[in-house]
């Protein structure tokens, strides 16, 4: 019994639980929009594209988040700009832009001696986040949650039926850019905890799971946050005993919940459907 409670005796574990839950909630909220809009690849793109911004911000002595945000946005805007002016399809443009930026980040990084740890940026370091960055992550996460909370109906409207939003005179392009900016902020805030590579999963999986379980949008948001936060807590807890990467354990937990939802979801679960395969 004592052994099971051991993770809660360490300050760094308690911090990890708190920051993991917060980051999980933020990425879950955005994942709902990404999944519904078919923007899953955009999460991947923006999260990779922040790397050169991080290195440049480090050089310039700016907060890393500022550089990451700028470079993540650059990726999103560049993709849209090139797509509007060439015959190349969007996913291809995105593939070129984000891998290009990511590689540029790697080159910049190898050109400099820093105390930035590449593996911390790529894979996260939730057990040893410096105090300043804990505060940064908390503020950014709170900001994203607040903006989405207030504007979620407008963001849903432009995702569901942009033509109707335009007919009502809503600023559709502005709201789309806002969603991209929120995505970049979420990536930045999750970077320290989950790492650039695994944040992609956190920005897709909870939304996908909740999509299987929900019939209304607010219900989907709530279930995504619930699934994501519980997976984060469970993943971090398990990582203590498995002695594995906490970020990886979180993502594995999220993936397991997704599979469970896929099989067991009420009405739409594969299990349920297999059972009633004879019915029309």
């Amino acid at each position: 019994m004592d052994a099971l409670l051991e993770p809660f005796r360490y300050g760094f574990m308690l911090e990890a639980f708190a920051i993991g839950a917060l980051v999980a909630a933020v990425s879950a909220v955005l994942s709902c929009f990404l999944v519904l809009r078919g923007w899953s690849l955009m999460g991947d793109a923006v999260s990779h594209a922040v790397l050169p911004g991080i290195v440049l911000a480090y050089w310039a002595g700016l907060p890393l988040a500022v550089g990451a945000f700028a470079s993540g946005l650059l990726c999103a805007f560049a993709t849209g700009w090139i797509k509007a002016r060439s015959r190349i399809k969007e996913d291809t443009v995105m593939g070129v832009v984000f891998t290009g930026l990511f590689a540029l980040g790697l080159v910049l990084m190898s050109r400099t001696t820093t105390d930035l740890h590449l593996d911390h940026i790529l894979f996260g370091n939730i057990l040893g986040i410096p105090r300043a960055q804990l505060i940064e992550t908390t503020v950014l996460s709170g900001l994203v949650l607040l903006v989405v909370g207030v504007l979620r109906r407008d963001l849903l409207l432009v995702s569901f039926d942009p033509a109707h939003a335009r007919a009502l005179g809503r600023p559709v392009a502005l709201l789309n850019y806002l969603l991209l900016a929120l995505l970049a902020l979420a990536v930045v805030s999750a970077m320290q905890a989950a790492g650039l590579i695994l944040v992609v999963a956190m920005l897709v999986t909870p939304g996908a799971t909740a999509f299987l379980l929900a019939r209304r949008f607010d219900e989907m948001l709530l279930k995504a946050v619930l699934v994501s936060v519980l997976s984060a807590l469970g993943g971090i807890y398990a990582s203590f005993f498995l002695n594995g990467s906490p970020a990886a354990c979180i993502v594995v937990a999220q993936a397991l919940v997704f599979v469970a939802a896929l099989l067991l979801a009420p009405r739409r679960g594969l299990w349920r459907r297999a059972g009633s395969a004879g019915a029309p």
Partner: protein, 307 residues
């Protein structure tokens, strides 16, 4: 509707050029009044969808102006006058939104920035849903509806928003004949209320049945006005060029023996024409003269001339 001021839609020399440099529409002008159902007719690539985007204020013309009741479109949008009923294919039906959610989206223009519905918004949603006969299904997820029900939900949204210019994009694609009639009946009601109903369609045959006005489009507005004045063979040829399929009776195998009894079946492609006794008719008589005279003979045998 509370506004007593009559609605009108006016385009003057509208030219639209896309960022790629392609000019999709040149010098398009038209004027329409409320209390009418008007078809926008043109083939794919004729600039039809560009014109309706310009009319709805979805894109800014490079030259020319669009005015709604003498105002800029932007102002009409803010008042909720411009309503859009999308094509079925444009909508992602798997979205986790209910019938009532969709109709409530019509009220967003009237709500404060938090979009929290008030009693007035709920009443408008209920009234609109009852009007199109969808109130009982308000809790359904939109993907769980039939084609006609889906269309009615979006018409209800246009009503809930107080739309005075309602544009329907290909409203009859994918709906059965009975549903089509129900939608047409609803559109006629909207017309009687003084709204301007615009129907974008490539289906020529249905136009004279329910549209009192037509705008013919081919890179510009070729003609607009009452259907019987605009739908002339010359105008239609200019609008459709070689894309129009014709069944000309005088060149076909239809002849006197068919009397006035012809059955025309069409699924919006070449019509299938059947003669009086149900036999097939061909578009070209040439080469089939034997067939015509044989049927003529048969018809005479079956119905001996009255003494």
């Amino acid at each position: 509707m509370t506004e007593s001021e009559p609605i009108s839609l006016e385009a003057e020399n509208v030219t639209v050029t896309y960022p790629s440099g392609q000019t999709a529409l040149r010098d398009a002008s038209l004027r329409l009044e409320g209390g009418t159902i008007c078809a926008l007719v043109g083939v794919n690539g004729s600039g039809k969808s560009t014109l309706f985007k310009a009319l709805m204020g979805f894109l800014a013309p490079a030259r020319g102006t669009v005015r709604v009741a003498g105002r800029p479109v932007r102002e009409a949008q803010k008042k909720g006058w411009m309503a859009y009923v999308p094509q079925a294919e444009e909508v992602d039906w798997s979205f986790p939104v209910s019938v009532a959610d969709v109709v409530m989206m019509g009220r967003y223009g009237q709500m404060n920035f938090l979009r929290i519905p008030r009693a007035g918004d709920r009443a408008a949603v209920e009234e609109s849903l009852r009007r199109v006969g969808m109130w009982e299904l308000r809790e359904r997820q939109i993907g769980e509806l039939s084609g006609g029900q889906k269309k009615r939900v979006f018409v209800a949204r246009a009503l809930a928003q107080g739309g005075r210019i309602i544009l329907l994009d290909e409203p009859f694609t994918g709906v059965d004949v009975g549903t089509e009639e129900a939608i047409v009946a609803l559109l006629r009601e909207l017309r009687e209320e003084g709204r301007l109903v615009l129907v974008s369609t490539h289906n020529l045959g249905s136009v004279p049945e329910f549209c009192d006005q037509v705008v013919l489009i081919n890179r510009t507005v070729l003609a607009f006005g009452p259907t019987d004045e605009v739908f002339t063979p010359e105008n239609l040829t200019r609008a459709f060029g070689g894309a129009l399929r014709a069944f000309e009776i005088e060149h076909s195998t239809v002849d006197a023996h068919d009397g006035r009894a012809l059955t025309v079946l069409t699924d919006d492609e070449h019509p299938l024409v059947l003669g009086r006794s149900g036999h097939l008719e061909y578009r070209r008589r040439a080469g089939r003269e034997d067939l015509v005279s044989e049927r003529e003979k048969k018809a005479r045998e079956e119905q001996p001339p009255a003494a």
